[in-house]
Structures are given as C-alpha cells and as structure tokens.
Amino acid sequence: MFKNFNLNDNDMAQKVIAGVTVNANDEGYFEDPSQWNKDMAVEMSKEYNIELTDKHFAVLEFLRQKYLAGEQLTIRKVGTSGITDIKEFYKLFPGGPLKISSKLAGIPKPTSCV
C-alpha cells in the first residue's frame, strides 16, 4: 500500500562522464562540484536533448558561482541575475529548468521550494 522510501543515504555511486569517473548520486547529481568540467555538461545535456550554447553556459557558471558562495538557489535568483529572465530560462532548459540546469552545472539539486 505504501511506496517504499529508501531512507538509506548511501546514494553515492560512481559515474563515468566524458571519460572521467565522478561521484554522483543515483539521480545523477554531483556529490563533488569540483569534479565538474564543461565537457561533462555537454555530455549530460544529451540526455535532455539540449544543445548547450554560450547562453546556457552563462547560466551554468552563474549557478556554480552562487552555489560555491553558499547561497540558496531559487528560480527567482536566476530571473534577477541579469543573465536571463525566467521565461527564457524555461526555454533554455525545458521541463524543469532549475533541476536540469543544476545537474548540468555539476552542483547538488536545489532544496528550495521556489
């Protein structure tokens, strides 16, 4: 009757992206953002049928910057970043912009509700 929640936090697995082994959880999010590089973003973007342009990379860099500065990421922050507005953000990463872009940026999934 109830779905089984796996409360075990051993989600860490090793994944090979762009020829390099990285630590990622089973949703594909990087455990260690310092392992990321741009080629990995390109490879991961294929899963979402997204072709990364300079604009995409500008957003990914912004996200990494904010994450590494310890700030909580919200879609509102991206909208006011000056790099893109929210409508464009949805076009750049359709289907779940913040979720997808943070995966491609090699940072953990944001935990904010907005």
């Binding site: 089984n4 796996n6 509102r76 359709p94 904010s112 907005v114």
Partner: protein
C-alpha cells in the same frame, strides 16, 4: 532520501484558490509554481475571496487572520491572545511580518509570483460567479489573468489523464 520514480507522473495540476488570506494564497501560488518548475502543467483558478489575490487593488495588501486563528502564536511560541489580535493595526503588522519572513526565503510578492508562474507556462483564471458577486471586471484584475471563466469551463480545462485538482 531517494523517492522511487513514479510510473505515472503527474502531468497537470488545477489549483483552486478560494480564500484570500496570505497563507492560503501563497499555498496555491507555491503549488502552481512548484508544478511548472517540475515541468507539470498548472492552471490556477481564483474564486470568492481568492479573487483578492488577482485584484489589482487588493493583491499587495493581503492579510493573515489574527482573530479566530487558533494556530497563530507569538514569536517565541506563546499563545497569541485574541484580545491582542483585535487591536487596531495588529492584523496589518503581523501580516507585514509574515511577508518579510517570506521575502527572506526569496518568496516573491503576489504579483511577481504570478508573473513567474506565467513565465513557466502556468495559466491564471478567475471565477465568473465570484467576479459577478464582487462586481469585478477583467480590467480590475491583474494582467496575468487569462480570462474569467465558469465552473464548467474550469472542469474542461481539468480534463486529461494524470491531472489532479487541488482545493485551497
């Protein structure tokens, strides 16, 4: 914590907001925005006191109840006396405090929030019966509102597999 992937993920949510207090309106807005952020289609339907959230004159001054709200407490956790809640200015003051707490968590004011939802593909509607009751016309409502529709039209919008209707 890993949550198992659902075989039949949600495709569309239709959220009805019938109340005009801050907590009710924001619950509806967060549900709608959360949905579009996950790639789920979202339609928001405001009715009765919920119309305050999309009426130009009211949307920036939503309040929360300080009288008759059994869950209202003082900061610190002590009970909130009803007599205090009745005093002039207290309801407005508490509401402003609540909004500033939300701002700190990067939750935008109602107008900006509606813009964010629409930017993500969400659709905003108003209830015709409630609009007639409160004598409101489309010009009185914020630009993000697509149209004033009837309950029948709302149910048509809510059709389709993988759709859920949420009432706030």
């Amino acid at each position: 914590m890993t949550i198992q992937k659902e075989e039949h993920p949600l495709k569309k949510v239709c959220i009805i907001c019938a109340k005009g207090a801050i907590e009710d309106v924001y619950a509806a807005l967060l549900l709608a925005n959360g949905a579009v952020m996950e790639g789920i289609e979202a339609k928001l339907f405001f009715t009765f006191f919920g119309l305050d959230a999309i009426t130009k004159k009211q949307m920036n001054s939503l309040h929360t109840a300080t009288v008759g709200n059994p869950a209202m407490r003082m900061p610190g956790g002590l009970p909130f006396p009803t007599l205090l809640g009745m005093l002039p200015g207290v309801e407005a003051g508490v509401s402003v405090m609540m909004k500033s707490q939300m701002e700190k968590l990067d939750i935008p004011p109602v107008k900006e929030f509606l813009e964010m939802i629409v930017a993500g593909g969400g659709e905003i509607y108003a209830c015709k019966l409630a609009a007639d009751m409160f004598k409101l016309k489309k010009e009185d409502l914020t630009e993000e509102v697509i149209d004033i529709i009837t309950v029948g039209q709302f149910y048509e919008l809510a059709g389709g597999q993988g759709t859920q209707i949420i009432f706030v």
